[in-house]
């Protein structure tokens, strides 16, 4: 099955058709998507600012992360759900949309950045995780993450102007 066939198949799903033909369903999905992204960005920003040593300096990384990350995951799941529902309603258009591709690229890079931090940088922090000034790798992880997620929001808004 070619990509175009897959996209057509997605668009013809009853759910996709319902969303595409409804006057209010798509805007509601969008509004929920904005709420979800808001919490994703806000919560990730808290951790990133901590890594950069700009905020929450008296809390340890592990402590802050344990409190904040549940919010991030739930909000991200909601963002993926609402995003997927919007995507299938116009699968062909969205698949070829440049800002959407950039948005996904930023999310993927942010994920890689997070994995590197989790697997490589963070295990080396240990005792230093309580201090206000963290090693360069940790600060870089925070700065890269914040930049990429700002890129996600930017690219996401840009989609609306290119549809």
């Amino acid at each position: 099955m070619s990509i175009n066939d897959s996209l057509t198949w997605l668009q013809q799903l009853p759910l996709a058709v319902t969303i595409a033909e409804s006057n209010w369903l798509y805007p509601i999905l969008e509004a929920t998507h904005v709420l979800a992204i808001g919490i994703v960005f806000g919560s990730i920003a808290m951790v990133d600012l901590r890594l950069l040593g700009l905020a929450w300096r008296e809390r340890s990384i592990d402590d802050l992360t344990a409190t904040v990350l549940p919010w991030t995951w739930v909000a991200f799941a909601l963002a993926v759900l609402t995003g997927s529902l919007m995507f299938i309603s116009k699968a062909d258009v969205f698949f070829h949309n440049l800002p959407l591709r950039l948005k996904f690229a930023c999310i993927a890079l942010a994920g890689i950045n997070m994995l590197v931090f989790h697997g490589v940088t963070h295990p080396r922090l240990a005792s230093a995780a309580c201090g206000p000034a963290l090693p360069r790798a940790a600060r870089a992880a925070g700065g890269i993450s914040l930049s990429l997620w700002i890129g996600v929001v930017c690219a996401g808004r840009w989609i609306g102007f290119t549809l």
């Binding site: 509004a31 904005v34 709420l35 806000g42 920003a45 929001v153």
Partner: protein, 154 residues
């Protein structure tokens, strides 16, 4: 009367300079969304704590004291970007019923939040009517974001 104001605003030097810049509205809207993200996260986390739905992390009063500076900055950003968007496209906002509803909701949320802040400072987080206020705040937040998105559709 509002239409006359829109016409006047659209004719100002600032509006006439900014309106033709196609890339400006998306950028200003993006900054507006980032402001929403900070405001939303801070207030939702606080409201969940007051409702007893989130227990991890610092005590409620300490948390609210910590987020307050970020919240003020975010609100300022929202106000400035919102004003800029209105200057660039006066009719889109000022003649929209959805926008007017959004502004009323913002005023309601502001009043509710100020009251909540005062109660927290004075009585601590134990006061019984902080819970319904927190619940109302959550509803207002969702409604404001939804209204903001719906401006484009109505």
């Amino acid at each position: 009367m509002i239409e006359n104001f829109c016409t006047w605003l659209a004719a100002t030097a600032l509006s006439r300079t900014l309106a033709p810049l196609e890339w400006l509205v998306p950028i200003v809207q993006t900054v507006h969304i980032l402001g929403i993200a900070v405001t939303l996260t801070a207030l939702v986390m606080l409201d969940f704590r007051l409702l007893g739905w989130a227990r991890r992390g610092p005590p409620t009063q300490e948390f609210s004291a910590r987020i307050l500076p970020a919240l003020w900055v975010a609100l300022l950003v929202l106000l400035m970007t919102g004003a800029l968007l209105t200057v660039i496209e006066p009719k889109r906002e000022l003649l929209s019923n959805v926008f007017r509803v959004k502004m009323l909701l913002v005023v309601a949320l502001a009043a509710s939040s100020v009251t909540m802040g005062r109660t927290l400072a004075r009585d601590g987080s134990g006061s019984t009517w902080l819970k319904p206020v927190a619940a109302i705040n959550l509803v207002l937040l969702v409604a404001i974001v939804a209204a903001g998105r719906f401006i484009a559709y109505v």
